[in-house]
């Protein structure tokens, strides 16, 4: 009897994967943004100047600040949309891990220089 109750309680308290999916996808996008902003600042003097938020650190200050803000904004928005439901995590995991993997490659200067 008590085992059945415990099983029912376990099933009742299983949470949706939406919040997790929002965190995963936004982390992938945030990482990718770091790489993309780095390349953009490297290729354009205008973008580079726009990213100088703190002069001693140069454009790196703006590239990372904007990427972090974008990551947090995407996280907050997707969490708001998905928190109460289950989403296809397999696809989101794939996209997020591809974004993160691409970020590792794109931040490598010889690869970034191809663009």
């Amino acid at each position: 009897m008590s085992t059945q109750f415990a099983v029912r309680q376990e099933i009742a308290t299983v949470v949706t994967n939406g919040s997790g999916a929002a965190a995963i996808l936004s982390a992938g996008i945030g990482s990718f943004a770091v790489a993309v902003f780095g390349i953009a600042a490297d290729k354009s003097a205008l973008v580079k100047n726009l990213f100088v938020f703190y002069k001693p650190t140069g454009a790196l200050s703006g590239e990372t600040t904007v990427a972090i803000l974008l990551w947090l904004a995407v996280w907050a928005f997707s969490d708001w949309r998905w928190r109460k439901r289950d989403v296809s995590l397999q696809r989101i995991n794939f996209i997020a891990l591809v974004f993160l993997g691409l970020s590792l490659f794109l931040t490598f200067p010889p690869i970034g220089d191809f663009f």
């Binding site: 919040s19 770091v34 990372t64 972090i68 993160l100 931040t107 490598f108 200067p109």
Partner: protein
């Protein structure tokens, strides 16, 4: 025995926060393997669920401290521009590296990669810590969340390893030095 304030900050950034992150990262992989192994959850207590969340949160704090101290305290000293006609570039690490063909690539590849790749670490590990805290014991019913958590921890460790390697090599070729001297040990008079 003395150390300069700039050297001390470099030590705190690299040997303190950064190296500790790398150590914690290897520990995290062992911990995740143990937890997510086939029988890991049947043996694990709720206390160990909480421990995983606290452990990854501590790693996230270390990652943020590493990138923020690196970007806003040490990097400005590294990239400081020497005044015109300066011949001794020891106080200007970037200019020193760029002044010699044999060391130029340490900046152009090493530092350029390090300064960006390091920022992937706090993003990835903050997400992993969030999953561990938010889902805790429910991770056992979400295999895809476990996959993402493990994948991001491993890739964060890879990114931290790249940043750490280049940080060590850059400091070896052109150390960030300067500021006030701090006397650590008073020597005896000879």
């Amino acid at each position: 025995m003395e150390i300069t304030t700039h050297s001390l900050w470099t030590l705190v950034h690299g040997m303190g926060f950064g190296a500790l992150y790398l150590l914690a990262g290897t520990g995290a992989i062992a911990l995740l393997y143990q937890r997510f192994a086939a029988d890991g959850y049947t043996q694990a207590s709720r206390g160990s669920d909480r421990f995983l969340g606290i452990y990854l949160t501590a790693m996230a704090a270390l990652a943020w401290l590493t990138v923020l101290s690196g970007t806003y305290i040490i990097y400005p000293w590294y990239r400081a521009t020497p005044p015109p006609a300066t011949t001794n570039l020891l106080a200007y690490p970037r200019a020193l590296l760029l002044s010699h063909p044999a060391t130029k690539q340490w900046h152009l590849v090493g530092m350029e990669w390090k300064e960006h790749v390091a920022w992937l670490v706090p993003i990835a590990i903050t997400m992993a810590a969030f999953l561990a805290i938010k889902y805790a014991r429910d991770l056992r019913t979400h295999s895809q969340l476990r996959t993402a958590l493990s994948g991001f921890v491993i890739l964060s460790l890879l990114a931290a390893g790249i940043a750490g390697f280049f940080g060590a090599m850059l400091d070896k070729n052109a150390p960030v030095d300067g500021g006030q001297n701090i006397r650590l040990v008073h020597g005896e008079k000879e």
